[in-house]
């Protein structure tokens, strides 16, 4: 299949042509993934921290359940939310199915366990003296925990990066809950899936390269942020 070489060319063309439709899907992908990862961080970082520093009966079981949630297939998340958001479902009234909001919800569900787990791992590996040192310097419990977070920032950053990679690369949720509607919920991954199913392999791969390029830019940005 000569399409491996072709796709590189097509990718360059696509980027240079600055095609309106490509721009639109790039934007939709970025927008939904960013919203989802921010929400996932807001949910996952505190959960991971809490699981990391507190000790209670059933904690290990809870952690195992959280680990299991990482094996949640996108299609299953899609099905679950579909059941809720569809017109027949309990939240059907709001007509959220096939909107970016539905995608964001699904992707958040997907990324939160990942973020929580990795923050937990970072906290588990951290120096045990951090919290007590902060407390004896007069910090409140919250301030001490925030200091802990700063000390394990590499781990937290890794958590966010892995989560972001997960949501921007996923296709099941975007497909089921977004519906791959041209000009509104078509993301780069659903577009790739569509092109592939049309037999436009080179074009699909080219879109994949564009996606990787976008992810690279995001990661370079996060990298700069981290170095400051």
């Amino acid at each position: 299949m000569g399409y491996l070489g072709d796709s590189l060319l097509t990718a360059v063309e696509l980027i240079l042509s600055f095609d309106r439709e490509v721009r639109m899907t790039v934007w939709t992908s970025l927008y939904t993934s960013s919203c989802a990862i921010v929400l996932a961080a807001l949910l996952g970082v505190p959960s991971g921290l809490w699981l990391g520093i507190s000790r209670f009966r059933g904690r290990r079981l809870l952690i195992t359940l959280l680990n299991t949630l990482m094996a949640l297939p996108t299609v299953v998340v899609g099905l679950l939310l579909f059941g809720l958001l569809s017109r027949q479902g309990p939240l059907g009234y709001f007509g959220l199915l096939f909107t970016p909001l539905a995608m964001i919800a699904g992707q958040t569900l997907l990324a939160t366990p990942i973020v929580a787990n990795l923050v937990l791992a970072a906290v588990t590996g951290a120096d045990e003296r951090i919290i007590n040192t902060a407390l004896t310097l007069g910090a409140s419990r919250l301030q001490a925990v925030i200091q802990l977070l700063r000390e394990v920032r590499f781990g937290v950053m890794a958590a966010v990066i892995v989560g972001f990679g997960r949501v921007i690369a996923e296709v099941g949720v975007a497909m089921m809950l977004g519906g791959n509607i041209r000009g509104s919920t078509r993301t780069m991954t659903t577009a790739i899936a569509l092109e592939t199913s049309k037999g436009e392999f080179a074009f699909g791969l080219a879109l994949g390269l564009v996606l990787l390029g976008v992810a690279l830019l995001v990661n370079l940005g996060l990298n700069l942020l981290q170095q400051r």
Binding site: D127, R129, I130, N132, T133, A134, L135, T136, L137, G138, A139, S140, R141, Q143, Q147, R150, E151
Partner: protein
């Protein structure tokens, strides 16, 4: 200032049990005891970091409740220099600023106090240095400065002279003797049996988790109440 009553505190197989101990304001106490006697454990208890299984701790006349919300204002008056202190990643200055920031001290004042504290430990010019680039003795001095800069009412020092060179030890001893005059109470855990007479502090002796009742230092403490 602080009173302990019928305290039991377990750590693994070890138990710290103190029937009665009274520490008074503006005094300097030296805590002696062999390795594993429970000195660090006692200091962590006094720093309100380790709750006892049993017994009462009375701070400034009020019974201490071990709930986070109530502990915080008390902890702001107490600071512990740990035996092997942890510096937060970042610069020396950031470490010294931490305690000031959580006390909402205005930043110009912060700057002043940080400079003064660094002078006290003879580390002028180290403020921008990353804590990763410090020698062993420098680490301990930064941690000491980080405690001193807070001007706590109760200062707990766990072997503060370890790793310090002779000049630093003398300077620290001079400083420590002067602090009680400013109303600060100080408890120093120390192995250096030569040190305490020089410092003129009252001696508290720990042996296998218990206060040594026959020691003159403790008697003096117990008698005063």
């Amino acid at each position: 200032m602080v009173e302990l009553k019928n305290i039991d505190l377990k750590r693994g197989d070890f138990t710290l049990s103190i029937e009665r101990l009274l520490l008074q304001s503006g005094e300097l106490y030296v805590l002696h005891g062999a390795n594993g006697a429970g000195k660090s454990t006692l200091l962590q208890l006094l720093a309100l970091l380790l709750p006892p299984e049993r017994g009462e701790l009375i701070y400034a006349g009020r019974l201490v409740h071990w709930s986070e919300r109530r502990l915080r204002p008390l902890r702001q008056e107490i600071t512990l220099l740990e035996q092997s202190p942890l510096l937060f990643s970042g610069t020396v200055e950031q470490n010294l600023a931490f305690g000031l920031k959580v006390r909402n001290i205005p930043s110009d004042k912060q700057q002043q106090r940080i400079e003064r504290a660094l002078e006290t430990v003879d580390l002028q010019g180290f403020s921008r240095r990353s804590v990763k680039q410090l020698s062993g003795g420098e680490v301990r001095r930064v941690a000491l400065a980080r405690a001193l800069v807070l001007e706590p009412k109760l200062l707990l020092l766990d072997e503060p002279t370890a790793n310090l060179d002779a000049g630093q030890v003398t300077a620290l001893e001079r400083l420590l003797v002067s602090l009680p005059h400013r109303g600060m109470s100080i408890v120093i855990a120390s192995h250096d049996t030569q040190q305490s007479p020089w410092l003129g502090g009252k001696i508290i002796r720990l042996q296998k988790g218990c206060l040594d009742k026959d020691e003159s230092g403790l008697k003096a403490v117990a008698d005063q109440q």
